[in-house]
């Protein structure tokens, strides 16, 4: 059995894994960093999401995470020395309410957003339809809009992080599945078929799959999975300028620069399969047509599957486990839009062993034992 050693082993080469690894190189600690991933490039949730980012949240910590990340996206090409860019598109983000209750939530949240200088504004139904003429008026009561929110290409950002990490000496290996983790004499031993990796510190970035490696170590984390399916249309004329989400329809909508529109509807399901389900389009299409009658004539090109992590309070889990020097990062379906900030915080924590970040302090794995629940009102999730 061959063995390699490293100082930090990151398991999972998605947004959290690669962003953390790259951020670690910025600390110039001299630590050797290795990232392993069981799949190939962008084959997990990072390559399968809706590509939107927004600062419009109702909870301080989400606003802070996304504000920092948005500033990063705006300068990503330069920061990551990736001239091709990440296909940044800042055409704003419209959060829609189709009931008075939802509008009340938006009203309460916008006050908190303004506390953090998020340039969001409240719109009535007419203003929403004026902004997006393809919107339907069924039950629509209004929304909030922030012009600095937008989208970028997940593939470009992931490739930029990969290239930048490798340039800084990070050893990134695909097709490398960690079967289990053991701890011997204060060293972690990750077993990979016929080889092992010995590491002083381990950061688990396998998202919904973290329990698979944690449970044998006696660490329980309340993380489950939610399979979703996404829809992309053929390229069409501009119809949906800002990204949309509807709290009631539980759908996000993003028309890409090339004209195709991506829809990610959420419905209650269990499991961790990325396979297409036979009743999905028949279920989703009427919701899409109700929300956006102006896209009814657009042909659907393809669907794909993705799996999100679900935590009891629908917030990320970031930090050290009860086992010293073993860390986890669970995104709770916003790995893309929070990865720059989360990567920076985790790099700090993993390399230095401590962090005084107030956001991180609220998202620790231990919060569930203490019974702390933090509620985010602006979710379009089940």
């Amino acid at each position: 059995m061959s063995a390699v050693t490293t100082d930090v082993l990151v398991i999972g080469a998605g947004f959290y894994g690669l962003s953390s690894a790259w951020s670690m190189t910025r600390l110039r600690s001299g630590a050797r960093i290795m990232v392993v991933d069981h799949g190939e490039f962008a084959s997990g949730a990072s390559g399968r999401n809706g590509a939107g980012f927004r600062m419009q949240w109702g909870l301080d910590l989400n606003i802070l995470l996304c504000k920092e990340s948005t500033a990063f996206f705006e300068n990503a090409a330069e920061l990551l020395d990736y001239p091709r860019g990440i296909e940044l598109k800042q055409d704003g983000y419209l959060v829609l309410a189709h009931s008075q209750k939802a509008l009340d939530k938006l009203n309460a949240s916008i006050a908190i957003q303004h506390r953090y200088q998020v340039p969001s504004e409240l719109l009535d139904a007419d203003a929403c339809v004026e902004m997006v003429p393809s919107l339907g008026r069924n039950r629509l009561v209004g929304g909030t809009y922030c012009a600095r929110d937008g989208s970028a290409s997940p593939f470009r950002l992931l490739d930029a992080l990969l290239v930048a990490s490798r340039r800084e000496g990070v050893d990134v290996r695909y097709g490398t599945r960690v079967e289990r983790i053991d701890q011997r004499d204060g060293v972690f031993i990750a077993t990979i078929r016929d080889a092992t990796i010995e590491a002083e510190r381990v950061l688990l970035c396998t998202d919904w799959a973290v329990p698979q490696l944690l449970e044998p170590l006696g660490v329980e984390l309340p993380v489950t999975s939610l399979p979703k399916e996404a829809i992309v249309t053929v390229p069409c004329t501009p119809r949906v300028k800002p990204i949309l989400i509807s709290l009631e329809h539980k759908i996000s909508v993003n028309q890409l620069a090339r004209g195709s529109i991506v829809f990610v509807p959420t419905r209650a399901r269990e499991g961790s399969t990325v396979e297409s389900t036979s009743d999905f389009l028949g279920w989703a299409a009427p919701k899409v047509v109700d929300l956006l009658p102006g896209v009814a004539d657009v042909p659907v090109l393809r669907t794909w599957g993705c799996v999100s992590s679900i935590t009891p309070d629908m917030q990320p889990i970031l930090g050290e486990t009860p086992i010293e020097k073993l860390y986890v990062a669970v995104s709770s379906f916003r790995g893309f839009m929070t990865c720059p900030a989360v990567g920076r915080m985790l790099a700090d924590l993993v390399v230095n062993g401590v962090s005084d970040d107030p956001v991180l302090a609220q998202l620790t794995p231990s919060r569930f034992k203490a019974g702390n629940t933090i509620i985010e009102p602006l979710l379009n999730q089940e």
Partner: protein, 458 residues
Amino acid sequence: MAAAIEATARGCEVTVLDESARPGGQIYRQADPRLQGTEFAEPTELARKKRLLGRFDEIVHAIDYRANAIAYAAFGNGEIHVQVGDGTEVLRPDAVVLATGVRERAIPFPGWTLPGVMFAGGAQAILKAQRTCPGRIAVVAGCGPLPIVVASQLTRAGTKVAALASLRSPLSILGSPGGLWHGRDIIREGVGYGRSLLQAGVARLTGYVPVRALGTGHLEAVQLARIDEHGQVVPGTVREIACDLLAVNYGFIANSELAAMAGARIRHDPDGGFWLPETDENGRTSLPWLFAAGDTAGLRGALVAESEGTIVGAAAATAVDTAVATAAPTVAASDALTEAIAVRSRYSRFARVVRQTLSVPVALWRTATDDTVICRCENVLLSEVRAALESGHHSLNAIKRNERPGMGWCGGRMCLHSVAVLAELHAGVAPGKMMTPRPMARPVTFAALARQKRAAAE
């Protein structure tokens, strides 16, 4: 058509989903009945066409035949999703026969996306369905029998064929006299087509391939040349020929997307149709309810396809009767089945000889230059595919995620085989897994998806 005829004869309720407006597929494609004019095929081929269409016509009123019906998804639970008119419908039959045929294999070369460059089969479809010539002066190129047939039919239709370039001599098949004997009637048709070419004085260029299509906005000329094993033009062999139509065929790729989407086991056969569902002699895939007939299960040609349709139709009917989920049940014999098995056996030997003429050297993909478009839908250039390969993205899925070949309108039907070959050429990696097959096999509007009829659950 043959599978539907046989399954109907065995007492099944049959639904036929046909993407076209009239039955016949590509080989026996029918023109709009209002169109006047003659057909350009050999009389013996036209007789076969008339015979099968006539047999289908006898049952068409007893079955549920749907023209312009697009099967856009298949699932492991046996559901087939189809668009008909402005709505969609979910079917749940007891057995499904995929007879989705093939598409033509594109090999990119500089200029191949210019209007005026088309597949030879595409040019033939225009001749058959619209009875009109797709060009005035044509160059026809490629390998196998189709370029010969199309060049001849274009000549008969009034197009001037300036040259017929063949990768290898049609006489190369003489090396397999045994196989040829079984297809002697087809050879005779080939001779008929060859005679038309001779009479029209069509120049034959053996060993030549198109290396560049020239023109501003539309094809104006094509450069033909011999290439060496590295894809380099052999000095002194370049011939530039003025034309407004270049019809190319380099063999075929099976339309196996629905089989893969349903979860049937897929095998890889580069010259025999690329990704093919694994089937037994009755056309049964790894899924007990799903069958594939004809070229969908590997290149066999029209004559094998017709007899195989009968065989697979009989097996599918048996699957419906017995509803056995696992073992392959015994198919009851009939005269039609016995004859079909004999015919398939005979023409399969001939088809194997023809298949040899369809193999192409990978060097052909080296005629593409860095600025040659590989994926037409997403406008992905060879340089971009190479950049992805150079940064270590070797699988089709990884290349797709980086550069988007296969993410466009056609879903990779036109380019993915090329990307697989290019990965082999430029990065030395064997073409791996087929790209994950997902709905939709064809685009369908939200409006049609929202108007969905579901077959009542049993």
